[in-house]
């Protein structure tokens, strides 16, 4: 399946969460990742995110689609993922 993941976590945990997600998905913008992922791997990612975040403060939104073909994506302004190696 294909997912869009957006996180809003405390600054103390941002770096760890971001570094972890880079191993599984593609960074597209500040706090936003995307990518194709298997059901099993997604389950692992969700489980790991529960450990890396604080459930009464942080929030991670995961939008799942069967395929990115249902999705039309557009950017206004700069494409920040060009800078992904810098962040």
């Amino acid at each position: 399946m294909y997912i869009i993941l957006v996180y809003d976590v405390d600054s103390d945990r941002v770096s760890k969460v971001c570094k972890y997600l880079r191993q599984h998905l593609t960074w597209v913008q500040n706090s936003v990742f995307e990518g194709e992922i298997s059901t099993g791997r997604l389950a692992r990612v969700k489980s790991d995110l529960r450990k890396l975040t604080q459930s009464d403060y942080d929030s991670v939104l995961i939008y799942q689609l069967e395929s990115p073909k249902w999705l039309n994506k557009e950017t206004i302004g700069i494409e920040k993922n060009e800078m992904s190696n810098l962040l």
Copy 2:
């Protein structure tokens, strides 16, 4: 159509952008809005966002779907939209 909109704009412009988007979409998390929107209204929103943001610095991602029925949404941690009136 249904859209998910995620912005990453300079702190000087966040408040204005957020306030503007609240008139057209539903706030779901820090920097994330969602909602049903007509093609015409979306065109207006995009045009207004181009004026409200700085194209060489800010970035607004818009994911469009024909219907939210293709989308499965899940939250890890807190559902921040419960607090939307406070922000």
